[in-house]
Symmetry: C2
Subunit: 414 residues, 2 copies
């Protein structure tokens, strides 16, 4: 065992994956068996039971009437979207491509919404044809939809995505407040609402989203409250009653040493207060919570096989058959300013003690191809399996899969 | 025009792309016509004439006998590899997938080499079957090759990739010196060479590569000299004469404000001195210069179409139909510690003055989707074309193309 200060920050304890006889279990199956089912390594495995548990927890804590939506961008694997379509109240898509997957999954168009700051005309036409709710993000989109509606006779259902006049405190990624490409500045919304009325589009409500990957309950509570008040204020200028208020999501999951899981209870309690007020102040309006990463991020592991173990000038390297090309975020190249390690384990030696620090690297000819920098691991040999946790969101779909010509990883819903 | 300090660093002047009637020319064709040829936007266009010019310049300056190789990882588009196969002396591949493209391109297996720190057994078998030179990077690879050779009767041609005992000064990315996953530490090489001799593999030489994206001629000269001396020293323990010495490449191209093109002449002059010495000190050894980015990086432009123009709280946003999902490096998420702008232009308004700073953003629902942060541009309208320069290497193949479900960009060799 290596000496390491007990004060050094650690990864949050893994609540979702157990092990048996030294093997990581994925929905009850040993990782070596899942690898055999996959047919090859590397693979992403998404554990249905972890997803179900997360949805159940939310259902239990969320106030009645608050709709739970899945933001497909987090993980658009068709089988997983199919599962989510049966478990949540709606799907949120970010492109015409995602829209097709959502429709294939059997979600009713009435329960699908489409957001994105640069929707192409062809995508707006797709959305119109499907009859989904379009979160408009600019005056151009409104004019374009009016024209397409005139041309086709298909009614445009719209909500206005608002760039709020406040920022989400302590968000991992800020997406509202100040100058932004997302949505329409709150102060420009009244004019746009009048235009929507003049053009005769079907106004349904607002989408207000200020940031993602937030682990701070107080900040989320504050954001939801301010989003709610902003929506009510903007609603005064709306051409019709508020039917939908999408408060976004932004619930984070712990990735890095020192991060802790979000305290869900206080956030849901505060949401219950808002839901009560909404019944009085915006009767008939449906509150929507839109979550992506929080629903699926912790359910996924990325598993690769050890191909080589090397010592170079005193440092141990575990070389695996996967890497940054298949899991860009774990390599630290997906918006991270400072690279930190994702939680990771030797998945077929869960019962063995760490023998010392090793760096886990991939097969690419670049120093960026790093899955773990000097992390404590048991001794590895070629053939062993390495599992990267917290890999259910922004993994497969957010990685440069073609880089250096390796085969794509397999995806399995287990 | 905006006020901007003349002391602020600027992008290096564009030597490769002219314009006519306000339109960027790609190998003589106006960008709007290339867009029509592509059939849709976004697209990557690689200008053959720029590639040819770069190869000719190198051929003119390189000492006779130095072999010019293309490192496919920079851009593995099959048509482009096909062009390179006719222009250079060899191809370097980094995976079994790239190997197939190199063979398809018609390059003789004798002129292909395969490097990479985590070659899978299946890939080593492919390389053996094809008869290409394998740059071994660990003792395990040597043992595995010996076993596969015994089993198949196919002779393994090997060079040893060396992790040198020095670092490349001022490289954009260090890949040698200190503990590294690349190659075999110089001090471990003699033992490995003896083992190669015992196992009877066909030893051919060394591959020494200390870092990439270097714009400093002195640093490159220093690296080549030290690599040469190291190879000669290690050659004393080799089981046979040195046939190949791959000195790597590492020649950089200017991406960011303040960066200037590499001074090629002094590097080639210093290489001529090495080539002369090599004839005496390692007779029969072939020197190889392996370049990827330097051959194709400046020949490529990434072109996308403006879908929307927005003002948000005083800041102008030009929204385009491409972005980080198709050009990760330009978004600043490919190893950059500090995000800086790639050179970029409004490709159908090359003759118009900048009207002020605008940020060029893509269609994704993430603030990471940024192609240019507050850059001076003429006024844009939807339908205009934005060109990102220096996009011929590590663009298409190094990007998370599936992210958010947009269609892949087209690639054209023009």
């Amino acid at each position: 065992m290596t000496k390491s200060s007990s004060a050094a920050p650690r990864h949050a304890p893994n609540e979702f994956f157990a092990s048996e006889h030294g093997e990581l279990l994925i929905n009850g199956l040993p990782v070596s068996r899942v690898a055999a089912m996959a047919g090859r390594t590397p693979f992403y495995a998404y554990d249905r039971s972890v997803i179900e548990r997360r949805v159940q927890t939310l259902r239990r804590l969320l106030p009645p009437g608050v709709q739970l939506h899945y933001a497909m961008k987090a993980n658009p694997m068709p089988a997983l979207v199919g599962l989510m379509a049966q478990r949540v109240d709606g799907l949120d898509v970010a492109s015409g491509g995602e829209l097709r997957v959502a429709l294939d999954a059997g979600m009713a168009p009435a329960r699908i919404s489409f957001a994105g700051p640069g929707k192409r005309e062809g995508e707006l036409r797709q959305a119109l044809a499907a009859g989904v709710l379009i979160n408009v993000e600019s005056a151009r989109e409104v004019e374009c939809l009016a024209q397409l509606s005139d041309e086709t006779g298909w009614k445009a259902r719209v909500a206005v995505r608002v760039n709020p006049d406040f920022e989400l405190r302590s968000a991992g990624m800020r997406m509202g407040g100040g100058p932004k490409q997302f949505g329409v500045d709150a102060e420009q919304v009244p004019a746009l609402l009048r235009r929507i009325g003049v053009l005769g589009l079907a106004f349904e409500g607002f989408h207000i989203y200020a940031g993602s990957q937030n682990l701070n309950a107080d900040a989320l509570i504050d954001m939801q409250r301010r989003s709610f008040e902003l929506a009510l204020r903007l609603g005064d200028d709306a051409p019709g009653p508020l039917k939908v208020l999408n408060l976004g999501g932004g619930f984070g999951i712990p990735y890095f040493p020192g991060e802790r899981a979000l305290a869900l209870e206080p956030v849901c309690e505060a949401l219950a207060v808002i839901a009560d007020e909404a019944r009085l102040r915006a009767p008939g309006a449906e509150l929507v919570l839109e979550l992506g990463r929080y629903l699926v991020g912790e359910a996924g592991v990325y598993v690769c096989r050890v191909t080589d173990c090397k010592m170079s000038r005193g440092q141990a390297f575990v070389v695996v058959d996967g890497g940054m090309h298949q899991h860009l975020a774990a390599s630290g190249n997906f918006g991270q300013v400072i690279r930190r390690n994702y939680p990771l384990a030797l998945a077929n030696r869960m019962d063995q003690p760490a023998s010392g620090p090793a760096s886990v690297v991939g097969p690419l000819c670049t120093p960026l191809d790093l899955l773990a920098d000097k992390t404590d691991l048991p001794d590895a040999v070629p053939g062993d399996l390495v599992a990267v946790f917290q890999s259910g969101a922004y993994g497969f779909s957010a990685s440069p899969l073609g880089f250096l010509g390796h085969p794509e990883p397999v995806q399995l819903l287990v």
